[in-house]
Assembly symmetry: C2
Homo-oligomer: 406 residues x 2
């Protein structure tokens, strides 16, 4: 019989426990043996929980119990999750985590410990919640050279943008609604400024290309500046504005990686992904485009991914060696953001076609403002164009990259 | 070093060989050891192939070579693929196949042999080509009770329907175009009459619910009767007509399973999946809705899935026990088609609202015909309604189920 411990009895942790007991029979069938949750760690009291006899407050009970071979970390945040996970791995206990901050900041180190101790560090739940993406990317697409990964990695911002797109709500009103529905925190910074999506694209980039990418090296811009007018012009052009985490492998061996709002043409299915749903498009040399879609957060969707990892750890009681990445030794591995190339959407307050160059104008019922989409250009050149327009008395109200996936 | 044999050097088989040598370094890294293709089986000569020294015409060379632990079957069709795969598994060689006919007709038997011989029978490429679906369904969603699987499982028919929807091409013209582009066979029966999609939904149903479902037990209707008018009314209603393979678990333990054109509302992402792309939506009790999208066919996309299975077989040189289903002992396991429940779309030639009941009319610029969508009803009652209308002199030109995924 396999004995499991769950660290944290909040939303995700209680989801893991509830889901485990709901589908225990099936989970044991897939794991190939009987499984029991022996401990649940939380500093709080839960006198009404049906599992209160499993609750412990002292992490040492878990880490020192040799019965425990597999641990689910559902606490979130860097500490004490990092210390606890590290201690478990150092004892040879496999860990499944839903903690994107932990994986994005400490993934390479924790994977190295897992490798050394011949146990597993799994994190399917850390990206895209319910969406199977880590394992499919690594295993099912294992024969591919990955070219690009782009997607909607944060449900809160996608909810806000969907309300702006479909109901002409302002950013502020949509954010208030998201907060009142519990989709956004009181301090929504991590979501709306792109930090959460940034952690996730870092994890995907690290896994796909084998070198740890740290969030601080990624150009990250949130959705605070997106105006309803941009959403309307986007529609008129034939697309949606979405917050996109994106990483692309360059011929030089470097990567372009960013999180920013992008104009996504309707021909790309990502433009149609609404509400709190996430979607990740992966481009490989053999598969071409493939996309994974589902709920990016929530108690049971996230628990579903954590429990799947638990099953895998129980089945394979040795390290799955290849799910691994190392530290990057090249400080220039992440290419400068301004060297990225893209078509660019501009919204400006005056017409001056001589300065705009050969662009695609977007017609809309607006006499005050003009919007257009350029040919593919370097971000650096787009910034130069913006400066030139402003020097000539044209106010650039928005400048947004277009997501073009070949 | 692991030695591999490839059966069949046609489109998929040559794709497997080419992809293997293109990404050999990465494939070996993921497999955890050196890998070499030792044999390629084909009765034809390929004097110009760079791999002609590996080509053999006698299957016995492969099956009797104890060096060969893993075999990729890319011949297609039931025979001799079935005999060859069976012989390999009986010798304890793991097999990866792209052959949906083989899996749909002989899956339970071949899985039982693999289980007995402690080797693997993998078939990721048999459904959805490049799309990782078999492994995600089984592993990543392993903690879920699967409720429903619905999707576009045939690229040829989706290409034809897309041309009808976006370019107002007739079915015949779109089929001709698909044939001239090589997307459809000269005899397009397997695709346009739904047989190919039927095999795939059988494989997904067998895997998700643990009992083999044979194609002959599945209600299967193709797209020959879809008229441009239906496509237009669908648009006016807010949806697309797609050929949908669908299986749903009932509270009784039985399943509803079918392949038929369905009216898919735009709120469902499947409605937006165009051209030769496939998409499979899986509904589980924990994950809610999740969708997998990609190229359903093609040389390299399919090879990508076959090679991923090869890697898995090399890494895990013992049976992955849980990827398994048995024969169904209950001859009533598949519920009668007429008992399924759905909203129904009707296109008729005359207005008679007394007979139609309380329905949702679709307004369109057509004075000759009326279309409407009913409340949820039993297929049996829909057929009764159709008969009643025709007894009253109203010609029912189309009757199509609506795909509603909760």
């Amino acid at each position: 019989m396999a004995k499991v411990a769950v660290l944290g009895y909040g939303v995700v942790g209680s989801g893991v426990v509830d889901l485990f007991y709901k589908n225990k029979h099936q989970i044991e069938k897939k794991a190939g043996e009987e499984v029991e949750i022996k401990y649940i760690l939380d500093i709080r009291d839960f006198p009404d929980s049906p599992y209160k006899d499993k609750l412990v407050k002292d992490f040492n009970i878990i880490v020192n119990d040799d019965d425990i071979k597999v641990v689910a970390e559902c606490m979130g945040g860097l500490e004490p999750a990092y210390s606890f996970v590290k201690a478990c791995l150092e004892k040879g206990k496999s860990v499944s985590t839903s903690n994107k901050e932990l994986v994005a900041e400490k993934g390479a180190e924790l994977l190295a410990i897992a490798k050394k101790m011949d146990c597993n560090f799994f994190f399917e739940a850390s990206v895209g919640g319910a969406i199977p993406i880590i394992r499919p990317l690594h295993r099912c697409l294992g024969a591919n050279e990955i070219k690009e990964i782009s997607g909607i990695l944060n449900g809160t911002t996608n909810f806000i943008l969907t309300k702006m797109i479909n109901e002409q709500m302002s950013f502020e009103d949509a954010l208030n609604l998201a907060q009142s529905l519990g989709y956004a925190e009181k301090d929504p910074t991590d979501d709306v400024d792109g930090n959460d999506a940034c952690r996730k694209i870092c994890i995907l980039a690290s896994l796909a290309f084998g070198k740890h990418v740290y969030p601080k090296s990624v150009y990250t811009k949130g959705i605070r500046d997106i105006a309803l007018k941009d959403v309307e012009f986007a529609k008129a052009w034939g697309g949606s504005i979405k917050l996109i985490g994106s990483v692309k492998k360059l011929d030089s061996g470097k990567i372009h990686i960013s999180v920013e709002p992008k104009l996504v043409p309707y021909s790309n299915l990502i433009s149609r992904v609404d509400d709190v749903f996430n979607a990740v498009m992966v481009v490989g040399d053999a598969v071409d485009k493939t996309m994974f879609y589902g709920r990016g957060a929530g108690k049971f969707p996230t628990a579903s991914a954590v429990v799947a990892d638990l099953i895998e750890s129980i089945k394979h009681d040795r390290m799955v060696f290849s799910q691994y990445w190392g530290e990057s030794t090249d400080s220039n591995y992440v290419e400068e953001y301004c060297k990225a190339q893209s078509r660019m959407y501009f919204r400006v307050d005056k017409m001056n076609s001589d300065l705009f160059g050969d662009v695609e104008y977007i017609s809309a019922d607006d006499n005050d403002e003009i919007a257009f989409v350029t040919h593919i250009m370097c971000i650096k050149d787009a910034v130069k164009l913006k400066i030139k327009l402003e020097e000539n008395g044209i106010k650039v109200k928005s400048m947004i990259s277009v997501l073009d996936i070949d």
